[in-house]
C-alpha cells in the first residue's frame, strides 16, 4: 500500500503544476498586474509611477511566462509564473497583497471553519444515514412515502431560505441563540448550534434520498435474504449487514470531502459571522489578490488529491477484497 500511496503522490505533482498553470492563466486573462496594482493602491489619485513602483516591488514587472529580454534558463525563470509558483511547492505561500502572511491567515481561519464543518459533517452523515435506514426499514409503507416526499421537499428549498428563516425564527423571534458571531473555545458552542443545525437540516434531504437508494439496492441481495432466513431481526439486518455492505458507495462520496472540510463554507460562514476560510478565496478574487487565490487553489487541489487517496485506503478497510497495488 505504501508504494501505491507514493505513486499516487508522485502522480499528483504534474496535476498540481497543471492546476497552478491553469489558475495562473485564468487569473491573468482577467487581471493584469496593472489592475492588481490599481486595486491595491486605490482608485483615487493613483499615478502611473506609483503603479510601476508597486509592480516592481512585488515582482509583477516581469513578463508572465517567457522573458525574451534575458538569455538561457532565465528566460523561463525570470518570469512571474516561475517566481510565484516555485515556493508554493514547499508550502511557502508568502504574503497577500495587503501584506498579511498567508500561512498565518490560513492557520487563524482554519479553526473556526473546522468548528463549523466537522460537527456539520458528522451529524449530517449520522442523520442522513439513519434517516435513510429508517426509510428503508419502513419501505413501501406510508412512512417511507411521506419520508421521501419530505426529503424531496427539503432538498428543493434553497439553503439560503433555511439560513434566513432559521435566523429569523430561532434567533430573532424565539431569541434562543445569537443570530451571528463567533467566540473562541467552548463559548463557540452557542454560536455554532444554529448554523450546524441548519446545515444538517438543509443537507439531510438529498443525502438521505441518495443513501436510501444505495440501501434499497443492497437490501435485495442474496446475503440479506440469508440473514433474514437465519431469523435475524430487520433492525439487525439493516444496521449490521446492509449498512456495512453499502459502505463503498458511501465512502466514495464521503471520505473525499473530509480534507476539504477545512476550506469552509462560504454561505453559512458569511451569514453567521464565522471567521473561517469560506470567504477567503472569494475575497481574494474580488481584491485581485493573486497570491491568495493561487495559494487557496493549490491547497484545495492538494486536499482533493489527499481525499482521493484516503478514499482508496478506506476501501481496503471496509472491504477486505480490495487491495491497493
Amino acid at each position: 500500500m505504501f508504494a501505491y500511496v507514493l505513486r499516487r503522490l508522485l502522480y499528483a505533482l504534474p496535476i498540481l503544476i497543471g492546476v497552478n498553470l491553469v489558475t495562473f492563466g485564468l487569473f491573468f486573462v482577467v487581471n493584469s498586474p496593472d489592475d492588481m496594482a490599481r486595486m491595491q493602491l486605490g482608485v483615487k489619485r493613483v499615478t502611473p509611477e506609483a503603479i510601476e513602483r508597486w509592480k516592481a516591488e512585488r515582482g509583477y514587472d516581469r513578463p508572465l511566462f517567457f522573458n525574451g529580454a534575458v538569455h538561457g534558463s532565465a528566460q523561463v525563470m525570470d518570469t512571474i509564473f516561475f517566481q510565484k509558483s516555485l515556493k508554493m511547492f514547499s508550502f511557502d505561500f508568502g504574503r497577500a497583497d495587503d501584506g498579511r502572511d498567508i500561512a498565518q491567515e490560513i492557520r487563524d481561519r482554519m479553526g473556526p471553519s473546522l468548528a463549523l464543518a466537522l460537527p456539520t459533517f458528522v451529524l449530517g452523515l449520522v442523520a442522513s444515514v439513519s434517516l435513510a435506514l429508517i426509510l428503508v426499514f419502513f419501505r413501501a409503507s406510508y412512512l417511507d412515502f411521506w419520508g421521501v416526499v419530505l426529503c424531496v421537499a427539503m432538498m428543493s428549498i434553497s439553503s439560503l431560505f433555511y439560513i434566513i428563516g432559521g435566523q429569523w425564527l430561532v434567533s430573532k423571534l424565539w431569541a434562543l441563540v445569537p443570530i451571528s458571531g463567533y467566540a473562541p473555545g467552548l463559548d463557540a458552542t452557542r454560536f455554532l448550534v444554529l448554523p450546524v443545525a441548519i446545515s444538517v437540516i438543509a443537507g439531510v434531504g438529498s443525502s438521505a434520498r441518495w443513501y436510501r437508494t444505495i440501501f434499497l439496492e443492497e437490501i435485495s441481495r442474496d446475503y440479506v435474504r440469508t440473514a433474514r432466513a437465519k431469523g435475524l431481526s430487520e433492525r439487525v439486518v439493516l444496521f449490521r449487514h446492509v449498512l456495512k455492505n453499502a459502505m463503498i458507495p458511501i465512502l466514495t462520496g464521503v471520505v473525499v470531502v473530509i480534507p476539504l472540510l477545512f476550506m469552509g463554507s462560504l454561505l453559512v460562514e458569511s451569514f453567521f459571522g464565522i471567521p473561517g476560510l469560506g470567504s477567503y478565496t472569494i475575497d481574494a478574487i474580488n481584491a485581485q489578490d493573486f497570491a491568495v487565490v493561487r495559494a487557496m487553489v493549490f491547497i484545495g487541489s492538494v486536499l482533493y488529491i489527499v481525499g482521493l487517496i484516503l478514499t482508496d485506503i478506506s476501501y481496503t478497510l471496509v472491504d477486505p477484497r480490495v487491495r491497493l497495488e
Binding site: Q40, K44, A50, G99, D108, I134, Q167, G181, S270, G273
Partner: protein, 723 residues
C-alpha cells in the same frame, strides 16, 4: 432522538445560566460595561496613516491618530479647529524676492507659503512596546533576535509597553514617510507638487532601497522644505499658494508617527508575524487598537494616555434643542471600548440592530421599507415599528456626487475638433441631460435617498447655492417657487438642433446610437438599464449598454474609449476646489492621467479654476464659482446625477451623534446610556421556550406511529400478516 433530548436540555440550561438573555452575542463579562457595539462589512486594507485612504479604514484610523487639525464636531459649514496642534497654523506667504505678502495677496504673487505648526506640549503616545525602554533609557525592543520573536504572535506578547511625549519631529517623520518608496502613499504625487522636497527624498530613498532590502532609516535623511523649529514646533514650506493644505492637515496622512515605531516594526521577523504599522497603529488619539482580527472583530480601547479633551460648547442652530450641547465641557472620550464585529451580510446585521446588539445601523435598500416611511410630500420619517423601539433617524447629504459623464474625446458626444461639431455635440449633451429624469432615478432606485445634482458641488460645501440661483437652467426652470424639470419637448428640440431630429441623423437618416459603458452592479443592471433605455427611447435615440468587468471599464476610461459612463466622487475635504477639479483640463484622464474622466477642456473654466482654488471663501470666490458652474451647465460634460443622502439609525440610548461625513473622529464624542440599553435588550430578547416543547411534541407525534409500526412488524409472524 429521545436520548438526545437531555443533551438539548443541558444546552439550553447552559444558555439560561448566561442570564435572562440567551441570544446575546457578546461575552457575559462585557454585560453592563461602557462599550459601544458597531459592525463593519469590508475589512480595512491599510491602517498605516500614509497609505490609508478609504472610509472603511477611516472609521478606525481617525480614532487612533491625532493630526494637527480636526473638524469642529458640531459646527456647519465644516470648520477646522486645532487637534494635536495648540493653535491653528500660522501661515505666511512670500513672493519671489522673499518679501512677506499680506493675507489677501493674489495667489499669482505667492512664491511660497510657510505653515508654522505648534503642537500641544504634554501629549503622550498610547502604551506600545516600540516605546518601552530599559533603565538606561535605551529602547527595550529595538534589536530583537529570531529567538526573541519565537513565541511572539501579537503585540500583547511583549511583556512591556512604554510611552513618550509627542514631539514636532514625529510629524516631520510622518511627512518623510509619504516619500517612502515601499509605502506607496496615494497622496504623494499631489503633495509633492507643492512640496518638491518629497520627490528629492523619494529619489534618494529609492536608490537606497535598490541597494539593500533592509528597513530604511528615515532619521538619516532630511527633507527640503520641512524644518523642526523646536521640540514642539515645525514648519512646512510649500511652493506657491495652496490654502487647501489645511484640510490635508486634518487627515492621518499628516498625523504623528514616532520613528521608534518604524525601527520596531522594521526588524527582521516582524512582518512575517503581521507585526507592522499597517496592522498595529500607534497614535496619541482617544483610542488604541487592542484587537485586530478583521475577519471577525476589531476592538478599540480607551487610550489611558490620551491628553483629554472637552466636549464642545458651541454648535450650529438647533444643536442646543437637539440636546447636542448637553455634555458641554465634559471630558472625552465617554466610551471605554468600541467593539466592531464583521457582518458580511445585511440581514443578520439588521436583525442584531433591532435586537439592540448594535447601537447604530445604516439603512439598506432591503430594510428601507421596514425602517422608513415616505409621506405624500416626499418627506421621510421613521416607521411606527422603529418609533416604538425608540430608534432615531439621522439624515445628511453626503459630500459626494454620482454623475453620467460624456467622453469629450468621442466624436459623437464630444463633437470633434471643429466649432460647429462641438456646438452640435453640446446641444446633444444638453438634450440628454434634460431627457434623463434623475429625480425619477433617485426616487425609483434609491428610495429617494439622494438630492438631484445641479452642478458638481454638493450642498453644504461653499459655492453650492440654494433656490433659484442654485438650479441648472439648462435642465430646470424656476416655477412657483421650485425647480421644475424642463419637458421632453425641450429635449427633442435640442436634439433636433444637434442634428438628430427624432433621434436620426439629419444628413444620413441613420439612427443615433449611444453607448453606456458600465460595470456589473453599476448602471448595467437590468432594471436600471431598462429605465435608461426607456428615457432615450422617448427621444427616439437607441441606447446600448456595454457592460464589462471593472478592470476593462477602467481601461476604457483611461484610454478614452468610452462614450457615456457612470462615475462618482467623494470629496476629500469641504472645499469646492475638490469637486470642480474633476473637470479641470490639467486633470484630463487620457492626456494627463488625472481625475477628469470626461476629458473636458474649457480654457475659460481652467483659467477660473486656477484663480478660484487659491481664493478665500467669500463673495468674490462665489462669483468665480458661479461663472464656472454656469460654464459647466452650458457645456454639459456631465449629466449631474445626484448627491447621495446618508441615512443612519441609532437607538435612543446613543447620545451626541451628529451626521457629517467630513467629521470622522466621532467616537470620542459619543455616549451610551447603559441602563437604558441593558433594559431594552432584556425586554426585546426574552427567550421563547414553548416552541421547543412544541417541536419536541411534534417529534414525538412523528415517532410514535413509526415506533408502533416497528413493534408490530417485529412481532409479526411470517404468516400473520404483519406485513
Amino acid at each position: 432522538m429521545l436520548r438526545r433530548f437531555p443533551l438539548l436540555l443541558v444546552f439550553f440550561a447552559l444558555l439560561a445560566a448566561c442570564g435572562p438573555v440567551w441570544n446575546d452575542p457578546y461575552p457575559a463579562s462585557e454585560q453592563g460595561r461602557n462599550i459601544m457595539y458597531s459592525a463593519f462589512t469590508d475589512r480595512p486594507k491599510h491602517l498605516d496613516p500614509v497609505q490609508s485612504y478609504s472610509e472603511d479604514e477611516a472609521t478606525f484610523l481617525y480614532q487612533i491618530y491625532e493630526p494637527p487639525l480636526q473638524y469642529h464636531y458640531l459646527k456647519r459649514p465644516y470648520t477646522l479647529v486645532p487637534g494635536s496642534a495648540a493653535t491653528m497654523p500660522l501661515v505666511r506667504r512670500y513672493d519671489e524676492s522673499g518679501r512677506e505678502l499680506p493675507e489677501n495677496a493674489p495667489a499669482s504673487q505667492v512664491a511660497r507659503s510657510v505653515y508654522e505648526i505648534r503642537i500641544r506640549p504634554g501629549i503622550l503616545y498610547q502604551p506600545h512596546p516600540a516605546l518601552a525602554r530599559e533603565a538606561d533609557g535605551s529602547l527595550r525592543y529595538a534589536s530583537l533576535s529570531a529567538a526573541d520573536l519565537q513565541s511572539v504572535r501579537s503585540l500583547a506578547d511583549f511583556a512591556e509597553a512604554g510611552t513618550r511625549e509627542l514631539e514636532a519631529g514625529d510629524f516631520v517623520h510622518q511627512i518623510k514617510r509619504l516619500a517612502h518608496p515601499r509605502l506607496h502613499s496615494p497622496i504623494f504625487e499631489l503633495i509633492a507638487e507643492y512640496l518638491p522636497g518629497l520627490k528629492t527624498l523619494q529619489k534618494t530613498l529609492a536608490e537606497e532601497v535598490s541597494r539593500s532590502s533592509d528597513a530604511l532609516d528615515l532619521e538619516r535623511h532630511a527633507i527640503p522644505g520641512i524644518e523642526i523649529v523646536d521640540r514642539y514646533t515645525y514648519r512646512i514650506t510649500l511652493k506657491g499658494a495652496y490654502p487647501q493644505f489645511l484640510y490635508w492637515l486634518s487627515m492621518p496622512f499628516f498625523a504623528p508617527v514616532p520613528p521608534e515605531a518604524d525601527r520596531f516594526y522594521g526588524q527582521p521577523g516582524m512582518a512575517e508575524r503581521n507585526l507592522t504599522l499597517d496592522w498595529w497603529p500607534i497614535g496619541t488619539g482617544p483610542y488604541m487598537l487592542s484587537e485586530n482580527n478583521p475577519n471577525a472583530r476589531m476592538v478599540l480601547a480607551r487610550n489611558p494616555n490620551f491628553r483629554g479633551e472637552s466636549f464642545p460648547c458651541e454648535g450650529e442652530p438647533g444643536d442646543q434643542e437637539a440636546g447636542l450641547l448637553a455634555d458641554c465641557g465634559k471630558s472625552m472620550p465617554f466610551i471605554d471600548k468600541v467593539v466592531f464585529t464583521r457582518e458580511r451580510e445585511g440581514i443578520p446585521y439588521w436583525n442584531k440592530f433591532l435586537q439592540g446588539y448594535y447601537d447604530a445601523s445604516g439603512v439598506s435598500s432591503d430594510n428601507f421599507d421596514q425602517a422608513v416611511t415616505m409621506t405624500s410630500q416626499g418627506e421621510v420619517s421613521l416607521s411606527d415599528e422603529m418609533r416604538a423601539q425608540g430608534i432615531e433617524l439621522l439624515t445628511s447629504v453626503s459630500p459626494s456626487i454620482f454623475y453620467l459623464g460624456f467622453n469629450m474625446l468621442d466624436s459623437v458626444v464630444g463633437g470633434g475638433a471643429d466649432a460647429e461639431g462641438q456646438a452640435r455635440a453640446r446641444k446633444l449633451r444638453q438634450a440628454i441631460s434634460v431627457a434623463l429624469d434623475m429625480d425619477e432615478f433617485v426616487s425609483i432606485f434609491l428610495n429617494g435617498r439622494g438630492v438631484t445634482a445641479m452642478h458638481p458641488i454638493p450642498p453644504g460645501i461653499f459655492g453650492a447655492r440654494d433656490g433659484e440661483a442654485g438650479i441648472n437652467p439648462v435642465v430646470y426652470e424656476w416655477r412657483d417657487g421650485r425647480a421644475v424639470r424642463r419637458s421632453k419637448e425641450v429635449a427633442r428640440r435640442l436634439l433636433a438642433e444637434a442634428g438628430y431630429p427624432d433621434g436620426r441623423d439629419a444628413k444620413t437618416g441613420e439612427p443615433l446610437i449611444l453607448n453606456l459603458d458600465t460595470t456589473p452592479g453599476g448602471l448595467g443592471d437590468k432594471s436600471r438599464s431598462d429605465w435608461l433605455a426607456k428615457q432615450f427611447r422617448e427621444l427616439g435615440v437607441q441606447f446600448v449598454v456595454r457592460a464589462t468587468d471593472y478592470n476593462r471599464f477602467q481601461d476604457k476610461i483611461r484610454e478614452g474609449n468610452a462614450q457615456l459612463f457612470f462615475f462618482g466622487w467623494n470629496a476629500d475635504y469641504p472645499d469646492p476646489e475638490n469637486m470642480l477639479f474633476l473637470l479641470h483640463g490639467a486633470q484630463a484622464k487620457v492626456k494627463e492621467s488625472g481625475q477628469n474622466s470626461a476629458n473636458y477642456v474649457n480654457p475659460e473654466y481652467d483659467r477660473l479654476f486656477e484663480r478660484m482654488k487659491s481664493m478665500p471663501d467669500g463673495a468674490e470666490r462665489q462669483v468665480v464659482i458661479d461663472r464656472m458652474v454656469a460654464i459647466l451647465q452650458h457645456d454639459a460634460p456631465w449629466i449631474f446625477g445626484f448627491h447621495p443622502k446618508a441615512y443612519s439609525l441609532q437607538h435612543g440610548w446613543v447620545m451626541n451623534r451628529k451626521t457629517g461625513s467630513m467629521v470622522r473622529n466621532t467616537l470620542k464624542y459619543q455616549r451610551i446610556d447603559l441602563e437604558r440599553r441593558s433594559a431594552a435588550r432584556a425586554e426585546w430578547n426574552r427567550p421563547v421556550v414553548w416552541p421547543l416543547v412544541v417541536v419536541g411534541l411534534l417529534a414525538l407525534a412523528a415517532i410514535a406511529p413509526a415506533f408502533v409500526h416497528y413493534r408490530r412488524r417485529e412481532r409479526a409472524t411470517a404468516l400473520g400478516g404483519g406485513r
